[in-house]
């Protein structure tokens, strides 16, 4: 088998000149996956995972990640994913065994539960760091891998202490904590040996908090409280069983506020993100449009018994990438990486099994 393929540049995309760039150039972030293509991968992944009692799910994860990364482009270059199924399987197996041991221990020796919680609190930052490092090291762009350099105590602060302070301060310190967290998340990532920088402004986060959390919560609370109060004071008969919907209303409010606020924070982080003197980033996700996409995705997925999950995932990725931009100011050829040993996926798999995730 031998064939000669002539070089051609990708069409419909902005192309980047090789070598140093004198004028800043905007590069589109595009996602080229399609629902039909991903449907095939997804359904085979699910069927094989069920047939193999979950064993194949490690390889399924590699397929899924590879598909999404290799279809994500900045300019004309796509990302790569480098974990292997066996690596993920080993990490998942160890995490699963650890969880079984913990569950058996707490079932037969319930009094050690507080001790296990304490151990877990101090262990979690390490797991999160390992998880983030593994995930970053397995992702590449133009053959240079990403990295995570968050420290134990920083992660301990942001994932264990800061959420408590945020609650104790009744939300007053939440924007300040969010700002530091997003800056930490960005600065702890590097592309090869080049660190990302991020200098967001505190007042922008407070503005996002007011717009994304305070105002919607006040509106929704008053919408719930008004008919309830009318019933209580005898102005309305609407109250019968109405209180049953209050927990649902609270969940909806929290979900709505969290989604809008998270989207606004992500935009702010991306806008102040910079990679060396080479690239600046931008994000213009509309919080309500994105919320609509997520809600309709859930509805579509549930009403099709999961069969529209591939379509929903692709739609989500496409919207997020369409709203992102990269401004190239320097020579993208200059990045280098160094050898690091990140072979274990235990942290990532344990985090996934335990249900905690670090996302922005």
């Amino acid at each position: 088998m031998s064939q000669r393929i002539e070089p051609t540049l990708r069409k419909n995309k902005e192309t980047q000149p090789e070598g140093p760039i004198n004028r800043p150039q905007s590069s589109a972030v595009t996602f080229e996956g399609t629902a039909s293509e991903y449907f095939g991968i997804w359904i085979v992944n699910v069927i094989l995972s069920i047939i193999t009692i979950g064993i194949y799910s490690a390889w399924a994860k590699v397929k899924r990640e590879t598909y999404f990364k290799s279809n994500l482009f900045i300019g004309k270059y796509n990302f790569g994913y480098h974990a292997t199924g066996f690596q993920i399987f080993k990490g998942r197996l160890i995490a699963f065994l650890v969880l079984i041991v913990i569950n058996i221990a707490t079932t037969f020796l319930p009094l050690i539960s507080p001790l296990i919680v304490l151990v877990f609190v101090f262990w979690a930052p390490m797991l999160i760091n390992n998880s983030m490092r593994f995930s970053a090291r397995m992702t590449s762009y133009r053959n240079v891998r990403f990295n995570w350099s968050g420290t134990y105590w920083q992660s301990f602060w942001f994932f264990m202490i800061a959420p408590i302070i945020s609650i104790v301060s009744l939300g007053i310190l939440t924007p300040l904590i969010s700002k530091s967290y997003y800056a930490y998340f960005a600065r702890s990532h590097s592309y090869g040996t080049s660190q990302f920088s991020c200098e967001p402004r505190t007042r922008d986060y407070y503005f996002a908090y007011v717009v994304g959390v305070v105002v919607p919560v006040l509106i929704i609370v008053s919408m719930i409280a008004a008919p309830f109060a009318a019933y209580k004071f005898g102005y309305s008969k609407f109250g019968n069983g109405f209180e049953q919907f209050i927990p649902l209303g609270i969940i909806f409010t929290l979900f709505f506020a969290a989604s809008v606020y998270k989207t606004l924070c992500r935009n702010l982080m991306m806008r102040s993100l910079q990679l060396s003197d080479v690239a600046q980033f931008d994000s213009s996700i509309h919080p309500f449009a994105y919320l609509w996409i997520r809600v309709t995705n859930i509805v579509a997925s549930i009403f099709t018994l999961g069969l529209l999950i591939p379509w929903a995932s692709i739609r989500d990725h496409k919207y997020l990438s369409d709203c992102s931009k990269v401004l190239l100011m320097g020579d993208i050829n200059k990045f280098i990486d160094k050898e690091t040993n990140t072979k274990s996926s235990f942290g990532e798999e344990f985090a996934e099994l335990e249900g905690f995730e670090v996302t922005i």
């Binding site: 088998m1 031998s2 064939q3 000669r4 393929i5 002539e6 070089p7 051609t8 540049l9 090789e18 039909s36 095939g40 991968i41 359904i43 085979v44 699910v46 069927i47 995972s49 069920i50 979950g54 799910s57 899924r64 590879t66 290799s70 270059y77 796509n78 790569g80 994913y81 480098h82 079932t107 037969f108 319930p110 009094l111 133009r142 053959n143 240079v144 019933y231 209580k232 109250g239 019968n240 069983g241 209180e243 995705n297 859930i298 997925s301 549930i302 018994l305 999961g306 069969l307 999950i309 929903a312 995932s313 989500d316 050829n333 200059k334 990045f335 280098i336 996934e352 249900g355 996302t359």
Partner: protein, 339 residues
């Protein structure tokens, strides 16, 4: 196969023009002047264009590799999987049908195999789990009972008579003061049973208290907790495989669905325990009607606690919330008093 494109050396983002020749899963990269690397193994081909090599190099083809050529780099199992993954309407429909049928069959298998799994699960382990759960609960939920010892003794004697008359497993019954659970009785897996002081004070009559104990004995005898745990774990595992964990919202939605399933399951177990309790009472020469009276009193108490409904409306409400673990009081009274 020979193709042109650009290559990147290990750990470098610098793009260099070159040509790649692939022969039996080994690649050779040449630039205009030199051979850059020779016969290096291929790790993966991603996005039909990027070829990652074992020496850390990456080659990006100018033109995407065709799917026929891509198959050339896969082993026979990977080739079969790739064939399945390739989209066509017929294949998508067939695979969807296979998946949905598989899910329904598995759902059926889970429900039916739970009885067999529970039967194989040693009683001693179940009792140990129950005792340990009770011990850990005791630290925060239960205080010492304030009931007179004679009162406790009377109830225990009659409860043991129900156990003996029905040939049930010996089960410890404890009485506790509890601010957390209020007037309630709880059956831990394999025992013990906990009856709160508030329940004894609310129901007053021994017969009503014994009817509630009979209901808890039915839970233990029928191993409802174990059934519930195993079935819910099975369904949760199935939901997690189907819906995956790629989107946190979909994951949350699947958790809600599993909770709905668990609540519905729990309501069925409650109804079963209610009906079995009637037979226990009958065999112990106690009046089965007392159970409906006990539920009536408990429902009355719950309705009084609710502030928004009128007590009559609340009492007659046979509707049960989707997330409720018990049928509504009115529904229970309805089936307990029907012939």
């Amino acid at each position: 196969m020979k193709a042109s494109g650009v290559f990147y050396r290990k750990h470098s983002s610098k793009e260099e023009e070159g040509e790649i020749t692939i022969n039996k899963n080994a690649a050779t990269i040449c630039s205009a002047q030199d051979i850059i690397c020779r016969d290096v193994g291929i790790v993966s081909i991603q996005g039909s264009k990027n070829i990652y090599l074992e020496n850390g190099f990456m080659f990006t083809l100018s033109v995407a590799i065709s799917s026929e050529d891509e198959v050339f780099f896969l082993d026979k199992y990977q080739q079969k999987i790739r064939w399945l993954e390739k989209f066509s309407v017929t294949r998508a429909l067939v695979l969807s049908a296979v998946l949905l049928t598989g899910i329904f069959v598995l759902r059926f298998v889970i429900t039916n195999s739970v009885t067999a799994i529970v039967a194989m699960f040693p009683y001693k382990w179940e009792e140990q789990i129950g005792k340990n759960t009770y011990t850990s609960f005791s630290t925060f939920a239960f205080d010492e009972s304030n009931l007179p010892n004679e009162r406790i003794g009377e109830i225990l004697t009659q409860a043991n008579a129900i156990i003996a008359a029905n040939g049930l497993r010996d089960t410890e019954i404890y009485f506790h003061e509890s601010n957390l659970v209020g007037p309630n009785a709880l059956a831990f897996p394999g025992g013990p049973i906990v009856v709160t002081d508030d329940l004894v004070n609310l129901l007053e009559s021994d017969d009503l208290i014994l009817a509630v104990i009979a209901h808890e004995l039915a839970h233990i005898e029928m191993r409802h907790s174990l059934n519930q745990i195993i079935e819910v774990v099975g369904v949760a595992a199935l939901a997690s495989v189907l819906l995956g964990s790629t989107d946190s919202l979909i994951e949350e939605a699947s958790l809600v669905a599993v909770n709905l399933f668990a609540s519905a399951n729990s309501r069925n177990f409650e109804k079963e325990a209610d009906l079995v309790a009637l037979t226990y009472l009958e065999k112990a020469n106690l009046e089965p009607d007392t159970f409906a009276n006990a539920i009536r009193k408990l429902t009355q108490y719950t309705c009084e606690m609710r502030t928004s409904d009128s007590i009559d409306d609340c009492f007659d409400d046979t509707k049960t919330g989707w997330f409720s673990t018990h049928p509504s009081g009115a529904a229970r009274i309805q089936y307990l008093t029907s012939d």
